[in-house]
């Protein structure tokens, strides 16, 4: 139904570790096919899902099945310097395979700190165990590293003869994300509301697309099996409970909320109550999207004057478009420049500017950017009299256009949310009756924040 085999290879497609779950594919051969794909197919023609027919020919959407049934389907993701790939011969659920592969990578990261060639070789015994426990007969089982840790450990001293370890109840329980009997000296829970602003501005200055992608992140250090209830200033919840008038302050409308698996979805659907038993440690409780028009918090305008064969000049203007009592921290404005510029010189009214030749960009760094301010920066570069594009006619287009990448901006504004979301309460009830303290923080930061240059 899902995957016949899962394997991890290096960037050349050489197998590092593999597990054949169903024995219906010749694994060695299949991995060779994958390596061949990586090498032989143009990067631009590569797709994360592809089919190799019985003759060993790669096929994409249009011609799948044209040479009859059979063959293997490959589904892969890349991570650092490795590929994680699943193979199947059936009409498997690809969305499931991709989410599985990403979660598997996450489990490995949780276990080994990082997932790369070296960490896999260093821990192959545990990886085999994990591959065995996370998937059975090609069907994903449990991929919660907290729970897996309770019976699959890297502890070298664990070879005690009396392996009395039992499968943790959480492995099969309805609460599959939390072990029983957790104890913390201090019962605390931290709540970060992080709103990321995705923005796409056209070269003429119109905002093409702006949305908020936000997450309520939790770090939970609570003992026992606590029952939590989170109250937000959710407009629909007020309406559902008939308190739309009582609500103090403004309520907000959240679009497409997604919850961590611990939240009872049916209950939420019913009366908009967010109730859950949290996993221990760090997790994203919920994410939501806000499609309302958002004013670009940090605006950037660029005037570029290229003088072919001699120099290129930039005039960059930036403006903060939020209330003056807020401050954006660590603002980085990244402006792409042509690859063959030399002798940079900068002048800016605030912050400092650096040229990063390996990224073909300049970065304007402003440590603290108060609301309602405007700053200016000028950059000047020399250009070689013969540009790289002139020498290499094939690369002509690339040379001319690669620096026309959009400007991107990084920033963080604490104590501020675009949506106006507020945590009204976080109730924590545990049968031992302890008091626990919730800590709440609000941050707005950049997401995919791009402004196209004219």
């Amino acid at each position: 139904m899902v995957a016949s085999a899962v394997f991890i290879t290096d960037l050349q497609g050489k197998a590092i570790i593999s597990r054949n779950y169903r024995g219906d594919v010749p694994l060695t051969q299949v991995i060779e096919t994958f390596a061949k794909y990586l090498v032989e197919v143009d990067d631009e023609a590569k797709k994360p899902v592809f089919h190799v027919d019985v003759n060993g020919d790669v096929q994409s959407g249009e011609d799948v099945g044209a040479t009859g049934t059979g063959g293997e389907h490959f589904v892969y993701v890349s991570h650092q310097n490795v590929y994680l790939c699943a193979v199947t011969t059936k009409n498997s659920n690809v969305a499931l395979i991709f989410t599985f592969l990403y979660r598997l990578a996450q489990v490995f990261k949780d276990y080994f700190g990082s997932l790369e060639e070296e960490s896999i070789r260093d821990n192959f015994v545990v990886i085999y165990e994990l591959l065995d426990e996370t998937m059975d007969h090609g069907m994903p089982q449990s991929l919660d590293s907290n729970i897996l840790r309770s019976f699959i450990t890297q502890d070298a001293n664990r070879m005690s003869e009396d392996s009395k370890s039992k499968p943790p109840v959480a492995l099969t329980n309805a609460v599959s994300w939390r072990a029983e009997g957790i104890k913390h000296k201090k019962n605390e829970i931290f709540l970060d509301v992080v709103e990321k602003l995705n923005l796409l501005v056209a070269a003429n200055g119109t905002v093409l697309h702006s949305e908020i992608n936000a997450a309520v992140k939790m770090r939970s250090f609570l003992s026992g099996m606590p029952e939590l209830k989170l109250g937000l200033n959710d407009k629909l919840m007020f309406e559902a409970t008939g308190r739309s008038n009582q609500a103090k302050g403004k309520s907000i409308e959240l679009e497409d909320i997604k919850f961590h698996q611990c939240v009872r979805l049916a209950r939420f659907e019913n009366d908009r109550t967010i109730s859950f038993i949290p996993p221990d440690g760090e997790f994203d409780l919920m994410t939501y999207r806000l499609n309302t028009k958002v004013k670009p918090l940090i605006w950037v305008e660029a005037v570029v004057e290229p003088h072919k064969g001699s120099r290129i000049e930039y005039m960059i203007k930036t403006r903060s478009q939020f209330k003056s009592r807020s401050v954006a921290n660590n603002v980085e404005i990244i402006i792409p420049v042509p690859p063959d510029v030399d002798s940079p010189s900068f002048k800016s009214s605030v912050g400092n500017v650096t040229y990063l030749p390996d990224k073909d960009a300049i970065v304007w760094n402003i440590k603290q950017f108060h609301g309602g301010r405007e700053y200016l920066m000028r950059a000047h570069f020399g250009l070689p009299s013969i540009s790289a594009a002139d020498v290499d006619p094939d690369g002509k287009k690339k040379g001319e256009n690669s620096w026309k990448k959009p400007i991107s901006v990084n920033f963080e504004i604490p104590y501020f949310t675009v949506s106006g979301i507020q945590v009204r309460y976080l109730k924590i009830i545990e049968k031992s009756g302890y008091q626990a303290l919730p800590w709440v923080r609000y941050i707005t930061a950049n997401g995919d924040y791009q402004l196209r240059m004219a």
């Binding site: 499931l96 991709f98 599985f100 992608n213 994410t287």
Partner: protein, 894 residues
């Protein structure tokens, strides 16, 4: 936000040291270590073996030595040895048997982890002889106290089914698995569902048997099990067909909260269930409100999928492509989210472009054009080309925006970027085809760029434009002339266009181009080796020399209008694909049959294999198999004597023997009564222990889309042992139940049916051949003139001939035939004597199925001959044979 390093990574657990032993005599050394008495030496040795295995070295010669280590209480060591076994069991089947004892012992261990491990591993060892030993432990594990063992065992049944399906049946594991759907533990339920769906898929049988009770269990488990379990359950729900709109709505309501799940796979499977069930919700006013509100709920989760990892975005986009074809309204206001970001991977950008074109409308065209123009300046050549061509597709799609699109294309041509110009020329040709004689003013600009064109397709397009508008271009002949200089070096596509364009030019302006056309014709007919070119050259030559007026009609004739091809998937295929959302099939836009090998054929004509698997297969006259064998429509005694002449009746065939169904013999057939399709069953209770009162029925997907209106059949009065009774099942046609058809194969008449005897709990399966006349619609009449038109228009290839002999004499009277046919919704159109053939008469009939398939039939009778010739024409050629068989059956038996 990333989790902190947990200390685990470093320290002494570095396994890489096991990879380093590479010296000679290594195997010997390893063997010694494997036999060591010290535990840690042994463990290290096994790790070294596994390390060698990992890097692809053959360590199968150590099989017995590794196997020796299996008797251990150390769970880590055990896991390693088991892993080794899984890898090498195939090569050493005999030796693997030595491990059986350990497996059996471990499967009864006190520690559930070890019990589960043993069962899981045994299932992975695909050695026939091991499987015999697996059954005992597996049976126990399925009833284990510990849910962890049960959930492992559930999956193991699917593994066993892969190797030895007959064992699974024999041991009744399928029933046990089915019982696990009611397990108290959600993980067990989820895995049981996964295992059952898997078995259903590979066997083509409905082993899920979703009943009302099962349905409630599944929906309850949906709230409790892990995200992966939720996907299993949702996917199996998507395969189920609700009995009616109300049930569909009820399930949708329970599924909708899943749209809020953080896992994209859960969301996509929920979308699949909702979209598939929506079909069944009907179209009354209340319902269409419900559908509208559902549609609104679907948009946000679909949009959010575009914020996931690029690979998942790719899957989502391929699926959204289907969804906007099926229900364009869902995302009509969301076009902006499909705008490409600079750093999107190329495969995501390409898919976004496809969707932009699908969603473009008069409302958003300006914004879309700005975007497409922006993309046309990016670096990636393929993407730029596709963007340019997208502008053309917008023009073809939206008549009122065509001019603006052309404006943008002209601007792009000004950039003089070689491939942008070429691609623009290609799409402008399409725009000219779509809107003839409207935008010729831009030809001058195009002509300025003639020398940039070096790709065959672009050149050919340009030449086509010149030829088509030769009268508006002052120097058309000169332009063509420049191309002619290099005629011989050109690509065949360009040569063909040059030939045609020159001839067009000549026809429009004969005075100046006489020489040129002569030269081209010479080049084409005498110098070229290309048969296409030569043939076309000769045809033109002959046309021009014999009848220039005719040549004008042919060469300058009106061309068929080209269409916007953005909604191009066939509706039937689209429905199939909507039911496959999130799977490979939905990514490829191909039905699963196109690329998956089926182990046992499910619903198809070559069904024999599956029947061989089925030991209880009853070799009765079920009209099985070979569709070309007319004998399949034999007259069966059980049909009884003629009853009422003007009534339809079912051809009752024995479809199920008593030994197969725990004592119930079934005869069944289909007929239509007052517009309702019915399956009639005669049941003889030969030896069933109890009275037959209630039955539950389920149909597999079939070639006709039949499904029962209710799953319950009640026998009133109950059928006591030794007696017989009749049961009727009303059927409706739903697209969801339509088995995908392959275009050139005859449709299978088979309808596969599962029946559950509610009294005994026995489930039995059989197949009944559908008789197509039961599907003929009451309003199948057709005007005589329309009939004649249709008859002429259907290609001869879609014609079927046959002769029916041994027709009973009373059926040779044409008037009787007409009346009797009419009762079966086969309508008389016309009759006429055959000229110059004494005593022969031709009769024309028409029939249309409820599913709007049309069949035209011509029957020839000859006086004094007990046979009749049939000629049948239809566009639905794969069903032609069935229609013909229906006529034959009616002629033979009234």
């Amino acid at each position: 936000m990333a989790k902190g390093k947990d200390g685990g990574g470093g320290g002494n657990s570095n396994d890489s040291k096991y990879f380093t032993t590479q010296k000679k005599g290594e195997m010997h050394e390893l063997r010694m270590e494997l036999h060591a008495t010290e535990k840690h030496v042994k463990v290290d040795a096994v790790k070294k073996v596994i390390a060698s295995m990992t890097v692809g070295k053959d360590v199968s010669m150590l099989f017995t030595d590794v196997l020796n280590c299996v008797q251990t209480g150390n769970i880590e060591l055990k896991k390693l040895v088991y892993l080794y076994l899984i890898n090498y069991a195939k090569t050493q089947p005999e030796l693997t048997l030595l491990a059986v004892n350990t497996f059996v012992k471990d499967s009864a261990d006190a520690n559930p982890l070890i019990r589960a491990l043993a069962v899981r591993t045994m299932g992975c060892i695909r050695v026939d002889r091991i499987t015999e030993y697996l059954c005992e432990p597996l049976g126990r594990a399925l009833r284990d106290d510990d849910p962890y063992v049960r959930k492992t065992a559930a999956v193991c049944v699917a593994k066993l089914y892969d190797i030895a399906p007959e064992l699974v049946a024999e041991r009744g594991f399928l029933d046990t698995l089915h019982d696990l759907i009611s397990d108290s533990n959600p993980s067990v339920v989820a895995n049981a569902v996964a295992a059952l769906s898997e078995i259903a898929e590979s066997s083509g049988k409905d082993v899920m048997k979703v009943s009302a009770a099962v349905l409630q269990k599944l929906l309850a488990a949906l709230n409790e099990c892990t995200e992966w379990g939720q996907v299993f359950i949702l996917d199996s729900l998507a395969k189920y067909t609700p009995a009616d709109g109300r049930e569909a709505e009820g399930i949708i309501e329970r599924v909708t909260p899943r749209l809020q799940h953080a896992n994209s796979a859960v969301v996509m499977s929920a979308v699949k269930v909702i979209l598939s069930y929506m079909e069944l919700m009907g179209s009354s006013n209340i319902r269409s409100d419900a559908i509208r509100s559902l549609t609104r709920k679907l948009a946000p989760p679909l949009v959010t999928l575009l914020n996931s990892e690029p690979e998942i975005q790719y899957v989502a986009l391929r699926n959204i492509n289907l969804i906007v074809q099926k229900r364009p309204h869902i995302l009509e206001n969301e076009i902006k989210v499909f705008f490409c970001k600079y750093n999107d991977p190329i495969y995501v950008k390409m898919e976004k472009l496809e969707i932009i074109i699908k969603l473009v409308s008069e409302k958003n065209i300006d914004q879309v054009l700005l975007e497409l123009k922006e993309y046309s300046t990016e670096v990636d050549v393929d993407f730029v080309r596709k963007s340019v061509s997208a502008i053309g597709r917008c023009a073809v799609k939206l008549e009122r925006a065509a001019e603006r699109c052309i404006g943008v294309l002209l601007e792009l041509i000004q950039t003089k970027v070689n491939y942008v110009v070429q691609e623009s020329v290609i799409v402008i040709k399409d725009i000219f085809r779509r809107y003839p004689n409207r935008y010729e003013s831009i030809i001058a600009t195009l002509c300025d760029n003639l020398d940039t064109l070096d790709e065959p397709l672009a050149k050919a397009s340009m030449i086509w434009i010149i030829g088509e508008y030769a009268e508006r271009i002052d120097n058309a002949d000169e332009l063509l002339d420049t191309f002619l200089e290099t005629f011989e070096e050109e690509d065949p596509a360009v040569q063909l266009q040059l030939l045609t364009a020159t001839v067009k030019c000549f026809l429009k302006n004969p005075e100046d181009t006489q020489d040129m056309v002569q030269r081209v014709l010479d080049l084409a007919t005498e110098e070229s080796d290309n048969p296409d070119l030569r043939d076309r050259g000769f045809i033109y030559w002959r046309l021009l020399s014999t009848d220039p007026e005719a040549a004008k009609m042919v060469v300058l004739g009106d061309k068929p209008v080209i269409e916007d091809d953005t909604f191009r998937l066939d509706p039937g295929l689209l429905n199939v694909l909507i039911g496959q959302i999130a799977t490979l099939s939905s990514v490829y836009h191909k039905p699963p049959e196109a690329f998956v090998v089926r182990r046992a054929a499910g619903i198809s004509a070559d069904d024999d294999e599956e029947d061989d698997d089925d030991e209880n297969y009853e070799d009765g006259d079920t009209g099985e198999g070979d569709l070309l064998d007319m004998g399949g429509m034999n007259i069966n005694d059980s049909r009884g004597a003629t009853a009422s002449v003007y009534e339809t009746k079912s051809p009752m065939n024995k479809v199920c023997g008593a030994e197969k169904s725990n004592g119930i013999e079934v005869y069944a057939g289909f007929r239509q009564v007052n517009g309702t399709i019915r399956m009639e069953m005669q049941m003889n209770n030969i030896s069933s222990p109890a009275e037959i009162q209630g039955l539950a029925i389920q149909l597999n997907k079939n070639s006709f889309g039949l499904s029962p209106t209710s799953q319950q059949i009640s026998c009133n009065p109950p059928i006591a042992p030794g007696s017989s009774g009749i049961a009727t099942v009303e059927l409706v046609v739903t697209p969801n139940m339509l088995a995908p058809q392959s275009a050139n194969q005859p449709a299978s008449p088979q309808v596969q049916i599962a029946i559950k005897n509610m009294q005994t709990g026995t489930v039995f399966y059989f197949a009944v051949d559908f008789n197509l006349e039961a599907l003929f619609s009451q309003d199948g009449t057709m005007e005589r003139s329309v009939f004649i038109e249709s008859w002429k228009s259907i290609d001869d290839r879609n014609e079927l001939y046959g002769t029916v002999s041994d027709i009973p004499p009373e059926n040779l009277d044409i008037d009787t035939v007409i009346n009797k046919f009419k009762a079966n919704n086969i309508f008389f159109i016309a009759r006429r004597p055959v000229p110059n053939a004494e005593g022969q008469e031709v009769v024309y009939f028409f029939m249309r199925t409820i599913t709007q398939m049309e069949f035209l039939a011509e029957l020839t009778f000859k006086q004094g001959v007990t046979a009749c010739k049939i000629c049948l024409k239809t566009e639905n050629s794969s069903y032609g044979l069935l229609a013909k068989q229906a006529i034959e059956y009616l002629l033979r038996d009234f």
